[in-house]
């Protein structure tokens, strides 16, 4: 009986494959290649086929027989044969596939190598068997047509019901949907307690305490001279703290643990600091050696693919643009598969296009669950990329999710705009029970503090119209992270004035 297996790749690994298409090989023959988010329907007879996926010359999954049965989500731990014909090296990416035929699952055997490497296992795989509860959206994604709106889980290639037909004609890219970032875990990967650093009489930062959770993108904001870079250098063991304590990647921050900590973290300083007479690959090879990496070529290729520089490996760094050098710097931080990446002003001095590329790369790393400590004074960057932010101005001024900080610092309010300034706004707003207070922003524009803008808006509108005001607009006051930042930093400036 011929049925249809529908295969969809929603993420082609986290390494060498990069953006390359994955070839779907059925019974030894390439039937088609899939890019991210693309789907293919395969006419198959259950129990008679073997499937593998591969990307490029050297990357291929083991061949897996499959047959109709109950469904499993299966990890392919792909192997590479990069240099030496007799050495098959393990690589660091994976493709998880689910196959579906006629409402019944095709069973594949999970790859033991894949299971053995805990760093490669994410919750979407480990709990994805049909009786495993289907966490992290894997089963949901498989059981529901993704085009209908369910976003797939990270690192998952899923199958959806399809129809009979030739593979090529049926391949159709699914609409790209933004995937929500993985939820940061609850386990802190960086804990800082009352950390202080002084250079003589000058205090770089004082009594700083915070935690960064695994998989989180943590923004560290502050004006120039606030102590951001010194904090990063301290946590990266380049500088000894004056007092306080910290645990970095589970290791106490002490001079004796310097080597061990530096082995577990990576830091990209503001300037990438590349050797301009060496090629991109040679630069990375050097750092791979310093990290004592085994199979450095695989890591280098993976890191370059991750920053979309796979085709520039042989270029001299001196010939690269600033944006590309920044990308090489990012690739360098990826080499050691760090527990935390410290990115110090990664877009400093970049033009908007290059900065956006770096944003996309950081966002990509976040999707992969990499813990990132990002220092910046670009607030749009922090708002866009960070799960939580801390604002530092020698002391830690605040910490939290951008939305929570806005809520903490600014009362909810309505912005009311009238054609002409109100005659007696005091009396008018005092007569409206929902209004707690108000202030004149400028001629004809008022900020009206209310408990719940949504509930209060109709009453305020009625009151204004009833008082004969020509209302142009009423809307909820929107405060950006920039407002939060300026509010806090200005407070410090005001406090320092004699």
């Amino acid at each position: 009986m011929t049925t249809t297996a529908t295969v969809r790749v929603t993420r082609a690994g986290r390494g060498r494959s990069g953006g390359r298409p994955w070839e779907v090989v059925l019974d030894g023959a390439v039937v088609d290649s899939l890019g991210n988010g693309e789907v293919i329907d395969l006419p198959v007879e259950p129990g008679k086929h073997a499937l593998r996926v591969r990307a490029g010359k050297y990357l291929a999954s083991p061949e897996r027989p499959f047959e109709a049965g109950d469904g499993r989500t299966v990890g392919f731990s792909c192997r590479t044969r990069p240099q030496h014909p007799f050495i098959v090296q393990r690589s660091f990416f994976l493709l998880i596939a689910s196959l579906f035929t006629h409402q019944s699952w095709i069973a594949l055997t999970p790859d033991e190598d894949y299971l053995a490497d805990s760093s490669l296992i994410d919750s979407s795989f480990t709990d994805s068997s049909p009786d495993g509860g289907g966490t992290a959206g894997t089963d949901t994604a498989v059981g529901t047509d993704t085009a209908a709106g369910t976003a797939p889980a990270p690192g998952v290639a899923t199958a959806v019901p399809g129809t009979l037909g030739t593979p090529a004609s049926l391949r159709s890219p699914l609409p790209r949907q933004p995937r929500p970032p993985p939820d940061p875990g609850t386990e802190p990967v960086l804990t800082v307690n009352s950390l202080t650093k002084r250079f003589g009489r000058r205090t770089a930062f004082s009594e700083v305490s915070f935690e960064v959770l695994r998989g989180e993108v943590f923004g560290f904001l502050g004006p120039n001279g606030a102590g951001k870079t010194t904090t990063v250098r301290t946590l990266g063991t380049l500088i000894a703290p004056t007092s306080g304590s910290a645990t970095v990647a589970g290791i106490p921050l002490t001079p004796e643990n310097g080597v061990e900590i530096r082995q577990r973290v990576s830091i990209m300083p503001e300037a990438p600091g590349l050797y301009l007479r060496l090629t991109v690959a040679e630069n990375l090879e050097y750092f791979a050696g310093l990290y004592g990496l085994h199979h450095p070529q695989t890591r280098i290729t993976d890191a370059l693919d991750a920053v979309n520089l796979g085709d520039r490996a042989g270029d001299l760094c001196g010939g690269l643009s600033k944006g590309l050098r920044q990308r090489v710097g990012l690739a360098r931080t990826l080499l050691s598969d760090p527990a935390i990446m410290f990115l110090d002003e990664p877009t400093s001095g970049l033009d908007p296009v290059a900065a956006r590329e770096v944003h996309d790369l950081v966002d990509g790393l976040r999707q992969r669950g990499v813990t990132i400590f990002l220092t910046t004074h670009r607030l749009d960057e922090a708002e866009k990329l960070c799960d939580r932010v801390a604002i530092l101005n020698t002391t830690l001024r605040t910490i939290g999710r951008p939305a929570d900080l806005r809520a903490q610092l600014f009362k909810s309010a309505l912005i009311v705009e009238t054609l002409k300034p109100l005659v007696d706004p005091d009396a008018l707003f005092a007569s409206l029970p929902a209004v707690e207070s108000w202030r004149d922003v400028h001629d004809g524009t008022y900020e009206v503090v209310v408990a719940d803008p949504r509930l209060a808006a109709p009453g305020v509108a009625r009151g204004l119209v009833g008082a004969g005001a020509d209302v142009v607009s009423i809307g909820e006051a929107q405060h950006s992270l920039e407002d939060v930042y300026l509010e806090l930093v200005n407070e410090d400036v005001e406090a320092q004035r004699p």
Binding site: F199, T230, L238, I239, R262, P269, G273, Y275, G289, L290
Partner: protein
């Protein structure tokens, strides 16, 4: 705790040698400098009057032979002075310090990367010089030359030790120097003190013997090792990054 990770040391050496190869000025200097130092000894050997008695002729040959020791002494000092100050100046020091490399590994790697090309160049020049003497010098001069056993031993034995001294001193200056040019000038000056012994030999205050060559080599070895340890202590990450000493 492992004191030295050879993989990291090797990584530093490999990178440095690659970097030298790509910088034409370094390659040219490494090729030209030994040749310049070769001119004087060659002239002396080839114009030496064979009519002199064996003893007088031998004395005349000591200085040109020892003059060759300037190659391993002077050649590495500018490169050594660049090791830390240069990295700082081109902005590569901080990324390097964020890696797990220990200061000992960094210093040994950098020193080896300077020592290797220096020794290759020095011994190639020594070899060419000896071959030229054997093949082309007057037989009497050649015989007298190859009877200078202690001096020839000193030539081969002291070359790496003098070189190491110049490298260690150059690196020590490089760690503290604010800029590369200053470091290179100071390093060249600081590489000379051991050459004083050579001058004493040349002017006849000291007499070349096997024992003296070995003693001088032993002292220089001890000094080099102690200096290497001292420079490891000077290599303070905080000072290198911020310019301020860790409190």
């Amino acid at each position: 705790m492992k004191w030295l990770d050879t993989n990291r040391v090797r990584a530093v050496v490999r990178k440095e040698l690659r970097d030298y190869r790509r910088k034409r000025a370094i390659v040219v200097t490494m090729a030209v400098l030994p040749i310049l130092f070769l001119i004087e000894p060659v002239v002396v050997i080839f114009v030496a009057p064979p009519t002199l008695s064996g003893g007088s002729l031998g004395k005349n040959l000591v200085l040109p032979i020892l003059y060759l020791l300037l190659i391993p002494t002077v050649m590495p000092s500018t490169l050594a002075a660049y090791t830390v100050a240069g990295e700082r100046e081109q902005g590569t020091l901080e990324p390097l310090l964020t890696t797990p490399i220990r200061q000992e590994e960094f210093i040994v790697g950098k020193a080896a990367a300077v020592l290797i090309p220096t020794m290759v160049a020095s011994y190639v020049v020594f070899g060419l010089f000896l071959a030229a003497v054997a093949l082309f010098a007057h037989p009497v001069v050649a015989t007298a030359f190859f009877h200078q056993g202690p001096v020839l031993l000193a030539l081969f034995l002291l070359a790496p030790l003098l070189s190491t001294w110049a490298i260690v001193v150059g690196m020590a200056i490089s760690v503290r120097a604010s800029e590369v040019r200053v470091a290179q000038q100071l390093a060249t000056l600081a590489s000379f003190p051991p050459v004083v012994v050579i001058l004493l030999l040349a002017v006849g205050v000291l007499h070349p013997t096997f024992a003296l060559a070995l003693e001088f080599a032993a002292v220089l070895l001890v000094i080099d090792l102690v200096a290497l340890r001292l420079i490891s202590g000077m290599f303070d990450r905080e000072r290198l990054v911020t310019g301020a000493k860790a409190v």
